[in-house]
Point group: C2
Chain length 204, copies 2
DNA sequence: AGTTCTTTCTTACGGCGTAAGAAACGGATG
DNA sequence: CATCCGTTTCTTACGCCGTAAGAAAGAACT
């Protein structure tokens, strides 16, 4: 590789592309180096170790989930909805990093800023402090859980399930359960249910 | 190791204990063998490969989540609630396997049987076929997502977060956000919200 | 030119999953 | 008793992995 063309950015770019293609399990320093055209050890000039590289991938994906911290006065419901939709959008854009997102607590300053602003919006809307945190956290964890079930991590396919003896399941599968638009509709169904539940708690 | 004392059961037992203690990342065939008092390759007499061993762990943990398939006539709401609570109970009992559960689609016959019975209960209660599946899947994925955020995988601790500049977060942390009973209350809050949302959709 | 700083590569170590087959053991059979 | 045989365990070895240590190559400045 010619000198000076590399940077942490380019390393993360290549790593993200590689993870999306072959999954986290297939990402090795040697393979990533080969993809970029460089020896494995060269990567350590830009990244202290592999763990930090994975952290960088998570941060990069999540940073695009929410455009910017919600402004005060935003309606709480659309705020939560948009956060959930954006989160899911980015996770689906990079399914390979999903296992990483699932295993890492979110604690970067950028995320905290969004959280703080979100809590402020909910407080304005009448939520208690505790309830505000619960609502936001529950929304995010719901999205993570849902998306985990939705996409098979790259590099492995879903096993076909044997529905003999289970007429309801067989019928549902025949009607398209598991198809992409089914995931969308399940997401909307459950997200709206969750938000309805928050609304009911707000009234009480 | 004296002969004949080993079995697939005992291997899985030891693996589960080891995973709970040091996490999935620390589980290696050599280490597991040492724990049992046997060479690594001996394990391959009871398990075709490591992946299958991990599958076995997941199956073992999840099989205890729901005592038995719900009987027809069970109230739908308490059925979903108990399934969620049981699922979370088992996941918390073995936090080490959480990353495995998160990454594996549930498709064993035992799980399908519970699912079939659950859908039947919801259909009786008036849910459409599609909505019944959505409600069950959403409940489970919610539990997985929630529990992922709740427990740090063994072998790593939560990083302390810097709350300077975020007064709401700082205040909430000071009031015990993140403490065990907070997780419980958030779980109850969000689960009931979700179930309320299902109920509202059932009425409509 | 020589010197210094930045960037890349070479080599090597210990640990991983596991393929292949040898070795030990226990019970049945003569 | 000796022999055989199926079951269970161990030995050895291969090709991967992350990465420590430091040599080498290139660019920039004096």
């Amino acid at each position: 590789m010619e000198r000076g063309k590399l940077s942490r950015e380019r390393v993360l770019d290549a790593a993200l592309a590689l993870v999306d293609e072959i999954g986290v399990k297939g990402l090795t320093m040697r393979r990533l180096g080969a993809e970029i055209g460089v020896e494995a050890m060269t990567l350590y000039y830009y990244v202290p170790n592999k763990e930090a590289l994975l952290d960088g991938l998570v941060e990069r994906v999540l940073s695009r989930a929410v455009a910017e911290p919600p402004a005060p006065g935003t309606p709480w419901r659309s705020m939560l909805r948009e956060a959930a939709v954006g989160y899911r959008r980015e996770l689906l854009r990079h399914p390979g990093v999903l296992p990483l997102v699932a295993g890492r607590p979110v604690s970067g300053p950028e995320a905290l800023q969004v959280l703080e602003a979100g809590v402020a919006v909910l407080r304005e809307a009448g939520f208690g402090l505790r309830e505000a945190f619960h609502a936001i956290t529950a929304t995010i964890t719901f999205v993570v859980g849902h998306t985990l079930a939705e996409v098979p991590p790259p590099g492995q396919d879903e096993p076909a399930l044997d529905t003999t003896g289970f007429p309801l399941i067989a019928h549902a599968v025949a009607e398209g359960l598991g198809a992409p638009e089914d995931h969308q509709s399940r997401f909307d169904y459950a997200l709206d249910a969750l938000l309805d539940g928050f609304a009911a708690r707000l009234r009480a």
